[in-house]
Symmetry: C2
């Protein structure tokens, strides 16, 4: 029920996922789902888990999750908790999806705080950089950042097959001495080889904002405040530059003719920088796979998110996280 | 003596400034300056303040400033302190320029910490957003952020004529309750009307990373850690997107033909997003005008920086800062 133009767009995405032979359960209003264009075609393939309420995109997260017990987000998280679903995907209210996952699935034993891991495209590389925390925890302690490093590395390996992920710490300079007191403290803890061996990851030192889209590391750890600012800055600059370009491309007949000639050269670029190609964010550290897609996700993007959820459930990423993070 | 291809590029920039009738003193090696291409043309117009040492671009800032007493950066800051110059401009080591300014000029009375204010282009608007602190203080307290707001607003008015600058607080969400504990505390202090009246500025609440290049506020305050990450993220994304575009433009004969047709439409865009158009950063809060330009500044960019320094000295920005920030 979440996301722009839901449930229509969600059902369209599920249809694409079903065509890829991924089993899907839809959580929401049965009538509203049935009224969607693609619903009849997938009716025999898809289970509907009934939920009568919806948490709005702008609603306050924690209180909504507590109050709207029959909302699709809460019911979806419960389905994962109860084993009726192996993973959950939402294009709805990010904060509420996070709160519902945390509240209903619970934390993995040993994890201090779950974190949002967001893929950031690295032009020319098969896999993106994973940045976490991208906004779940505005205030962090240094040892949480070590756990973020562990979770990010395991996710990076499970999802993209990077054998020994390199972890960088986001800071205001590459030198070891640079950083806020949190970053400096985290730097010290991240240098310790115990976690690196246990996680099969390596610490590559500080990275700067300018390295976000570069092939310098595979995982970037930071607190949720800085991570959110960096992510939104990157998205904002890209959106404004591309917007200005598109305007210039359409500013005269001459420009339009030029843009037509360039379309073939620009198509792969569009593909590469499109948010659809890297997919949604994931909440790492809860006892279940919980993927949080953009509200504006296309059916294609949603189908990709569902496929990722499917794959992460199949390879038991939560089990890998537990193995490394839960005390014996 | 600082910056890529110095002193050649600096002397070329000074030549352009002299042509605009701005009186300039060059600080550095007399022989190396005299050996520059444009040196003879400006010899009669320009005073040379002798400095025998140079602080390298990669040198450790504070210790270099202490040790290299006859360096061009230290001598330039002393010239401002002693009234032999009205302002200082450097394209050299940023940290050292900052340290030299702070150590030799001293802080304005009442200012807790000087901050680096960086202009960020706002497409379609005559003036940029001013973000501070962009990196001088990795760790800040909430009351410093209020001073940053005051200094940024005064600078914005003096330089771009914005009568009542709107100040935004960089945070991980627009809502009032969002933020790290520092941001939340600063939010509370910034809401107070006393500083707003005293500074002739208004507090517009939280802004997000996505607002950096937008016409939502005029001044963006944050701690130097977050500001540095945001700034470098913005620069990095822009550089990578533009790099990818230029590569696509040159990827085939067809693409090259298209790019030629588009050149007229793209020229103003290039102009708008070019770092030369907004100019260098300024260190606010010291007892003198100290402008810090990119190491890669073109002669044109340097001449602009010199002109800005000239104008800020003429309108006595340091006096305006003192009037608002120094206790009576």
């Amino acid at each position: 029920m979440g996301g722009d133009n839901a449930p229509q767009s969600v059902v369209a995405g599920v249809r694409l996922a079903v065509e890829r032979n991924i089993p899907v359960a839809l959580v929401g209003h049965p009538e509203q789902i049935a009224a969607c264009e693609d619903a009849t075609d997938i009716a025999s393939e898809v289970v509907v888990i009934v939920a009568s309420e919806v948490i709005g995109m702008g609603a306050e997260a924690a209180s909504s999750v507590r109050k709207l017990k029959d909302s699709s987000l809460v019911r979806a998280a419960e389905a994962v908790r109860d084993g009726r679903a192996s993973a959950m995907v939402s294009a709805g209210n990010t904060g509420a999806a996070m709160a519902a996952s945390l509240l209903k699935m619970g934390r993995i034993r040993g994890v201090s705080r779950p974190a949002i891991a967001t893929p950031i495209v690295v032009p020319g590389r098969r896999w993106p950089n994973v940045m976490l925390d991208a906004g779940a925890n505005s205030e962090c302690s240094a040892d949480w950042l070590v756990q973020f490093a562990q979770m990010g590395a395991i996710y990076c390996r499970d999802r993209w097959g990077v054998e020994v992920p390199r972890v960088g710490l986001l800071s205001n300079g590459e030198e070891a001495g640079k950083g806020s007191s949190l970053a400096k403290q985290a730097f010290g803890l991240l240098q310790d080889e115990t976690w690196q061996k246990r996680t099969r990851a390596s610490f590559a030192g500080n990275v700067e904002g300018s390295n976000l889209l570069e092939d310098v590391v595979d995982v970037i750890v930071t607190d949720g405040f800085t991570g959110n600012v960096a992510l939104k800055t990157a998205e904002g600059v890209a959106r404004q530059l591309i917007g200005a370009l598109l305007q210039a491309f359409d500013s005269s007949n001459e420009a339009r003719a030029g843009a037509r000639l360039l379309s073939r050269a620009l198509a792969p670029l569009y593909e590469e920088f499109s948010p659809d190609s890297v997919g949604g964010a994931i909440l790492l550290g809860v006892r279940g796979v919980s993927i949080i897609s953009h509200g504006a996700s296309s059916p294609q993007a949603l189908a990709n998110a569902i496929q990722v959820a499917h794959e992460l459930a199949e390879c038991d990423t939560v089990g890998s996280l537990r193995q490394v993070l839960s005390p014996e």
